[in-house]
Amino acid sequence: MIRINLTSIHVDDQAKALAFYTDTLGFSKKTDEPVGDARWLTVVSPADPDGVELLLEPNEHPAARAYQEALTADGIPAAQFAVDDVHAEVDRLKALGVEFSQDATDLGPVVTAVLDDTCGNLVQLAALT
């Protein structure tokens, strides 16, 4: 059976991204190996340490930045993460200084919000209701 074990997000600075994705969002560091000037750097959910890994990939390719800027201008998230309670998570993250392009919004079957990951991307939080 095919399954997802790794997915990636482009970041403008891997050290900054690691701090944001662990200290602020709450992921755990899984792998950190040097690859040339960069790192093979992945994080996982502490609720599922053997689950899908998120690769924090340097956005050094010029097309990556253009892609990030165009998505961000229209408010389109580069990734979606599940949380238990979007409203509570938005309150917690705002207290830590995180900026949201979309506040917690009840869309019927799902509550979503969209935050700025400070590394070039918007990220959606979602909870099924």
Binding site: T72, A73, D74, G75, S101, Q102, G108, T112, D116
Partner: protein
């Protein structure tokens, strides 16, 4: 597309009226949020490009203004042009007969 701002043409379309409804409930939304609301709340499956074109009509009529905040663009409702419509005909201030 007429260069003259035309709120009548802008609000003639039901999708554009829904966009104004959603901006009235929560002002200052990205294109992505507007598309999400139209899809999830109203079952509209308009493409992002179609919604973008609707927003362009609303913007041209003066009913929607866009503003950049940081790296993203937010859409704000401006009911000013509708006030002009009301004042054009509802000038007596009299209540309608029961």
């Amino acid at each position: 597309m007429s260069a003259e701002p035309d709120p009548f043409r802008a609000i003639a379309d039901p999708t554009r009226r829904l966009i104004l409804d959603e901006l009235t409930e929560s002002d200052g939304q990205t294109l992505f949020e507007i598309c999400s609301r139209l899809t999830m709340r109203h079952g509209l499956t308009s493409s992002r490009q179609a919604v973008s074109q609707h927003l362009a009509v609303l913007e041209q009529s003066g009913l929607v203004h866009t503003q950049r905040r940081g790296r993203y663009k937010l859409h704000h409702i401006d009911p000013g042009p509708l006030r002009a419509i009301v004042q054009r005909w509802l000038t007596t201030g009299e209540e309608p007969p029961p």
